[in-house]
């Protein structure tokens, strides 16, 4: 319980000041810190040949995002495939097969960090740093950048003036990295090293086991682990150094380390509510958004905590009665594993400190639902962007309900906007359910570790996690096959770029329209009623899309088990 209190308190106490700092650091207004950070930022712009002050059209901004990410994917793909011949490989690890390398590159370039490999055995220190850590910084910073661009295009009240451009991608990106992510990551990395997370470029020590009857040599894989785990947690990334992620004691050694890592997981997504409130001036709106998110979050966490306190039915009468400890670490117990599990699926982080595959069915189902919704704080930047997408849909529905022409912040929502908004929302069930159906229909494609209903849940979870850019898994899946790798690549790319760039385009289109003056019939977007409507739209859209699949997977599993 103390741990739980410490984690919530840490997020609440650090979230507000961090958010206000981020609002100043990332907003367009000049601040005193510009000169301070210019020491690092100016050389970056100069070396890259970028005029950071030139604002871009939304098309140029989106294109810059896509081109940089194409480069990131290529860099990571090449490093993974040829790591065997490259330096910083003390354990002599061979190159990755092309398909797993491609999946890994796309997975990290989309802030997903879904892993079809086990890092400690299949990646060199160079791959874990040059390829993975670079992407773990640039992808959350991209979410930040696009969110700030949308906020300054759509949310800032500027009368009827027509906005010029949405900002400069490279400036937004660099500020996110240099002013927010990098300083936080350095602090967290050192704290974690203190707690026992390795920080070394040495080869793995080889030790003889203590019991002389066990004639095995134990290899203890090390590396610059702490620096990666810090940004993995802070950047809603989730891809760990070791295969089972932060359940491994080397990656998450103590209760204090667990408090730091769990708090880091939601810190920036929560802080962003305050940052955007500051940048846009729409404090009541952001308060409403935050309230909806908090309610979703508390409901989900309560369900998962309750579910994991229940015994595992497979172990009935084989021991003293106890909670479901299968797949969990004793130093955390079930509550802290459940809290992490629900937060990691809400925020699209995807790191784990327990194996979700062995959660009780109701807990596992809640994790899936968190990822369907994916805007309960959500990934850095993309969580709020996704929420705005739902907000646009709710504004459309709400306007029609009160008999007004659909509008958002006084700007008319017309056919072009709604067509793209619908596509971005409907792509999720289409891709997840379509690929799941294809996979179970193809003989030999599934390769899962569990029979029956849970086997279907494993497939559903994998594609849901890919589309939500989450990265956690029901990890019993034998997913390092060309089919799994390539099918997930599709889900990863669509799930990342469509819901991120459509709101940017819509924001720019709306900004170019003339605003109608607010009148009696205007939909009050910061009202309790409208936030209730938005929450309802989120729940209904996701239940309509996914309830049948949930019935066939976790619900059937729960019913058969008797709870």
């Amino acid at each position: 319980m103390n741990d739980m209190i410490a984690i919530y308190a840490l997020v609440a106490l650090l979230g507000v000041p961090l958010g206000l700092y981020m609002g100043r650091a990332l907003g367009s207004r000049r601040t005193r810190m510009d000169a301070l950070f210019a020491v690092i930022e100016t050389p970056i712009y100069r070396l890259a040949g970028i005029d950071s002050h030139q604002s871009m059209t939304w098309q140029a901004y989106a294109l810059a995002v896509l081109k940089l990410h194409a480069g990131l994917i290529l860099l990571a793909w090449l490093v993974f495939m040829f790591q065997g011949m490259l330096p910083l490989n003390p354990d002599g690890i061979a190159g990755m097969p092309w398909d797993t390398a491609l999946h890994t590159a796309v997975s990290f370039a989309t802030n997903t960090n879904q892993q079809h490999y086990s890092g400690q055995a299949q990646l060199s220190h160079l791959s874990q740093t040059l390829a993975i850590v670079t992407l773990q910084f640039l992808t959350p910073a991209t979410g930040l950048a696009v969110l700030v661009a949308i906020a300054r295009t759509l949310l800032i009240k500027r009368g009827a003036s027509v906005l010029k451009g949405v900002g400069n991608y490279y400036q937004d990106l660099t500020r996110g990295v240099v002013r927010v992510l990098l300083p936080l990551a350095v602090v967290v990395a050192l704290l974690l090293t203190w707690q026992g997370v390795p920080a070394s470029y040495q080869a793995a020590p080889q030790v003889e086991m203590l019991d002389p009857q066990v004639e095995e040599i134990q290899s203890i894989p090390l590396g610059p682990v702490a620096s990666m785990v810090a940004i993995k947690q802070l950047g809603t990334n989730g891809g760990g150094w070791y295969g089972p992620n932060s359940s491994v004691p080397l990656e998450n050694p103590t209760p204090l380390a667990n408090v730091i890592e769990t708090a880091s997981l939601t810190l920036i997504p929560v802080a962003l509510l305050f940052a955007i409130a500051l940048i846009s001036g729409r404090r009541r709106l952001m308060l409403g958004v935050g309230a909806v998110m908090l309610v979703f979050s508390l409901v989900s966490t309560s369900v998962v905590v309750y579910s994991e306190r229940m015994p595992n039915v497979a172990l009935a009468e084989l021991s003293q009665p106890g909670a479901n400890l299968e797949g969990k670490e004793l130093r955390f117990g079930t509550d802290l594993s459940a809290l992490w599990g629900s937060w990691t699926t809400q925020t699209s982080n995807g790191s784990v400190n327990a194996m979700h595959d062995s959660f009780n069915p109701m807990g596992g189902m809640m994790l899936l639902m968190d990822m369907f919704v994916n805007v309960t704080f959500g990934g850095i930047g993309v969580g709020l962007i996704g929420f705005f997408l739902y907000l646009m849909l709710a504004a459309f529905v709400g306007s029609l309900m009160v008999g007004r022409a659909p509008e958002l912040f006084g700007k008319p929502l017309e056919t072009r906007e709604m067509r793209w908004i619908s596509l971005a929302i409907l792509a999720q069930p289409l891709v997840i359910l379509g690929l799941s159906a294809l996979t179970v229909a193809m003989p030999g494609a599934v390769q899962n570790s569990n029979p029956g209903f849970h086997g279907l849940s494993q497939v559903l979870y994998e594609f849901t996690s890919a589309f939500a850019n989450n990265g956690s898994g029901f990890e019993g899946l034998g997913d390092a096959t060309p089919w799994w790798n390539l099918a997930c690549v599709v889900a990863l790319l669509v799930g990342r770029f469509l819901p991120m760039l459509v709101p940017l385009a819509v924001a720019a289109w709306l900004a170019g329209k003339r605003a109608a003056p607010a009148g009696r019939g205007t939909l009050p977007m910061d009202s309790l009623a409208f936030m209730g409507l938005t929450a309802g739209v989120i729940v209904i859209v996701n239940l309509l899309g996914f309830l049948p699949a949930l019935v066939l997977g976790p619900i059937a599993e729960a019913v058969v088990q008797g709870f």
Binding site: S28, A60, G71, L190, V214, A314, S358, S449, P451, V560
Partner: protein, 225 residues
């Protein structure tokens, strides 16, 4: 209705300049190269160097040494124990191999989980001379990492009699070693026993007579396939 708060009319950095309408490949690739060096090389190198300098023990994997200075393992990685003169840890889906760490990934609905737990519970009941309903649940559940170094204090107490007998010492001497092997006794977390540290302290204090009553041909129950 949106209240008009005192929002300053912010302007983008330079509004009068022409908008950039294209994004070039050269900016993207040059920016990527600069960031890769800063974030992918300099940041891990710097934090690893500083962390290793401040906390050399932890940075190097929290290795444990015996009296002669030989490395016997890591405080953070469980080992396999089969001899009766040692405490056993939790079941491991990875055979306590830190290079292939893994959980079982078996769902509660999976019969394979039931079968594994049944075999483990019976082996433990036989070995400790207790009935299965006395076994703490951590001893029959595989951890998430496969190298969980801890067991509950209860699970340790269950094994005291058998360990004392195998080492031909009295139970109180073994019980006395549990306390120093406790971890997480502070404000956070729940107290747990580090099995490797406990067994190492046993070996140090009460070296087992070579070839003593340790021929545990019984199946080593803390390895799961």
């Amino acid at each position: 209705m949106e209240t008009v708060e005192n929002v300053e009319q912010e302007t983008l950095p330079v509004e009068d300049e022409a908008l950039q309408t294209r994004a070039s490949w050269s900016s993207a690739l040059r920016f990527l190269a600069v960031m890769a060096v800063l974030l992918g090389l300099a940041y891990p190198l710097a934090t690893t160097a500083v962390g290793g300098w401040l906390f050399p023990e932890q940075a190097g994997g929290s290795l444990l040494r015996d009296a002669s200075g030989r490395v016997i393992g890591s405080r953070l990685v469980a080992q396999t124990f089969v001899g009766n003169e040692y405490f056993i840890g939790r079941p491991s889906a990875a055979g306590n191999d830190a290079a292939s760490v893994s959980g079982s990934n078996l769902a509660p609905s999976n019969v394979a989980l039931r079968e594994r737990a049944e075999a483990d519970a019976q082996a433990i009941a036989r070995r400790e001379g207790v009935s299965v309903d006395q076994i703490p649940v951590d001893l029959i559940t595989a951890s998430g990492s496969g190298v969980d170094p801890h067991i509950s204090p209860e699970a340790a107490r269950l094994q005291v009699a058998r360990v004392a007998q195998a080492r031909q010492i009295d139970e109180a001497s073994v019980t006395a070693l549990l306390e120093p092997a406790l971890e997480n006794t502070g404000w956070l977390g729940a107290p747990v026993i580090n099995v490797l540290r406990l067994n190492a302290s046993l070996d140090e204090r009460y070296p087992a007579a070579p070839g003593a009553d340790s021929a545990a041909n019984d199946t080593p129950s803390n390895t799961v396939e």
